[in-house]
């Protein structure tokens, strides 16, 4: 049996893991909210975020661990993150423009299959461009342990949790209190009616992809603090799990995606602690099956269809 302290420790670890899921999951849920499309290429955007942080760091001469410039100073790390966010936002917007927009009226199945196709395409392009061998992200902070009451966390995990909280607060504020946020919520109800308000629906959709992709880029850079190993297929499992997290929370709901991500991370960590990491990989999918059986609309989802 686990001691209480050990359980708390796993919960704390799970918060960091879940933060990364949550950052990716908001991209799924926002796009679904507006287009009712599961953008399966979103996990690959997360992978690209990691590489878009990695390559500029290498160009600037920072090397993983051994080497003359081992550690990326904080201001540079911040700039790298912004760069990765901008690059991923552009990729997200381009994918929507080139792949999804021409299919906007073609039915949801065509768009879904296209999304899977884009995902495979991006994985393989990444294999060609970045090569199959793994890369190690240069260290961005000096790893130290921080003791917080009964739990002890590396400062990298604390940073992941802190940055995620900050990003989520910003996103909530934008969606809740700005006119653009209101336009996004309006589009998620009805694009037709939103256009009658003077809302340029295509621009809102582009913005939705840009924001979701930038959040995934942050996740890609953040996870490199904790697990610095980059591979072209690194987006696959986190992408799938973030999708599960979005469904858990109720797809279309931003708070739901955050809650689903955190929940999934915590449950995975706790199960990993109790039963070993072999089982923790399966947890996401067990949770998915359970939630689909008990509450198909998810934790924060609206049950049934909206009345018109």
């Amino acid at each position: 049996m686990l001691a209480v302290n050990e359980l708390l420790q796993q919960v704390a670890n799970g918060l960091a893991k879940g933060s990364v899921y949550a950052l990716i999951a908001v991209g799924y849920t926002m796009v679904y909210g507006v287009l009712e499309l599961i953008n399966f290429a979103h996990g690959e955007v997360f992978m690209l975020g990691a590489y878009f942080g990695y390559w500029p760091a290498r160009w600037l001469g920072y090397m993983p661990d051994s080497g003359e410039k081992p550690q990326v100073p904080a201001p540079v790390a911040l700039l790298l993150t912004f760069g990765a966010m901008a690059a991923c936002a552009l990729i997200g917007v381009l994918v929507e423009r080139l792949a999804y927009r021409p299919l906007r009226n073609a039915g949801r199945l065509s768009a879904l299959i296209t999304a899977i196709g884009i995902s495979v395409l991006m994985q393989n392009l990444a294999l060609v461009v970045f090569h199959a061998d793994s890369k190690d992200f240069p260290r961005m902070i000096d790893q130290q342990s921080v003791v917080l009451g009964p739990v002890e966390l590396p400062n990298t995990k604390l940073l992941i949790i802190g940055v995620t909280a900050l990003m989520m607060a910003g996103l909530f504020w934008m969606v809740r209190y700005t006119r653009t946020g209101a336009a996004m919520r309006a589009c998620s109800h009805s694009m037709k009616t939103a256009s009658l308000m003077g809302v340029n629906v295509n621009r809102i959709i582009s913005l939705t992809f840009a924001i979701g992709s930038a959040m995934a880029a942050v996740a890609g850079v953040l996870i490199s603090l904790d697990q610095p190993r980059l591979t072209p297929l690194m987006g696959l499992m986190p992408g799938l799990k973030a999708f599960v997290a979005a469904v858990l929370g109720g797809i279309g709901s931003i708070p739901g995606a955050v809650a689903g991500g955190i929940l999934l991370g915590v449950v995975e960590s706790v199960v990993g602690g109790v039963a070993g990491t072999t089982y923790s990989e399966a947890v996401a999918f067990v949770l998915l099956i359970l939630i689909l059986l008990v509450r198909p609309s998810g934790l924060f989802g609206k049950s049934g269809r909206e009345k018109v």
Binding site: H189, K192, S195, M197, G198
Partner: protein
């Protein structure tokens, strides 16, 4: 020059022709109504004007310019606004947010505030509901919100699709009186109604649509006395 001119517009849904060579015009300052039975093509006509469906043939001109290819959101900026059928309230947004979205394309924030006060003076009921979600309003309040929201964009031409649908008689009167008031303030109105009686009473001219084409047109007062109109639409 008319504010709005539609010339020989054909609209198809797949293989089905919904509008056949529909022509109509709305002069600056008028209230014009478009009446007809269910499925005659009234809503399609409005949708073709504001770009939600595209005519296969014919032209739509607003303020002297062809708008047959102009996107809907751009038309709002130019002053052509529709309060859609079924009101189109965003149920997940508050009344205040719904109204603010009406002014989405405007950047003159001071004037927007003045317009908000005017709308709330027109519909005092909305003032008490500003923090409520749009979906919690009654049907009449939703219709007031839909019209108020459309006014927030400072329209030159307001398209109203079935504003009286599903409302109690007392509220129908309130809505039509409001349309008169809006028109007196200088907004031109094109009104689609199944309630032909009220629509003809409150408009200057009218068109009667039958199975996708214009069957009759003229002064509203004359149409009200027309025996065919009386029999078919006024229930007399």
């Amino acid at each position: 020059m008319a504010l709005l001119e539609i010339e020989h517009v054909d609209v198809f849904y797949g293989a089905v022709q919904a509008l056949r060579s529909v022509s109509l015009r709305v002069e600056q300052g008028e209230v014009v109504s478009l009446v007809g039975s269910n499925g005659a093509g009234k809503t399609t006509t409005l949708n073709a004007i504001c770009g939600l469906v595209r005519p296969r043939a014919g032209d739509v001109r607003f303020d002297g310019q062809s708008i047959a290819r102009v996107p809907t959101h751009e038309l709002v900026r130019r002053g052509l606004v529709m309060a859609p059928e079924g009101r189109g309230i965003f149920p997940n947004l508050t009344v205040a947010e719904n109204l603010d979205l009406g002014a989405y394309s405007r950047r003159d924030h001071g004037a927007v505030k003045t317009d908000l006060d005017r709308v709330l003076a027109l519909f005092p009921r909305l003032n008490e509901r500003m923090r409520q979600k749009g979906g919690t309003l009654s049907g009449g309040e939703q219709q007031m919100l839909a019209i108020g929201r459309a006014l927030m964009s400072r329209p030159k031409l307001l398209l109203l699709d079935e504003p009286s649908l599903g409302l109690a008689p007392l509220l129908v009167k309130v809505i039509f009186d409001t349309i008169d008031a809006i028109n007196r303030e200088g907004v031109t109105v094109l009104l689609v109604e199944q309630n032909a009686n009220a629509a003809l009473k409150h408009s200057k001219r009218a068109y009667v649509l039958e199975s996708g084409s214009i069957a009759l047109e003229g002064d509203a007062s004359q149409l009200r006395d027309d025996p065919a109109v009386k029999a078919a639409y006024l229930g007399e």
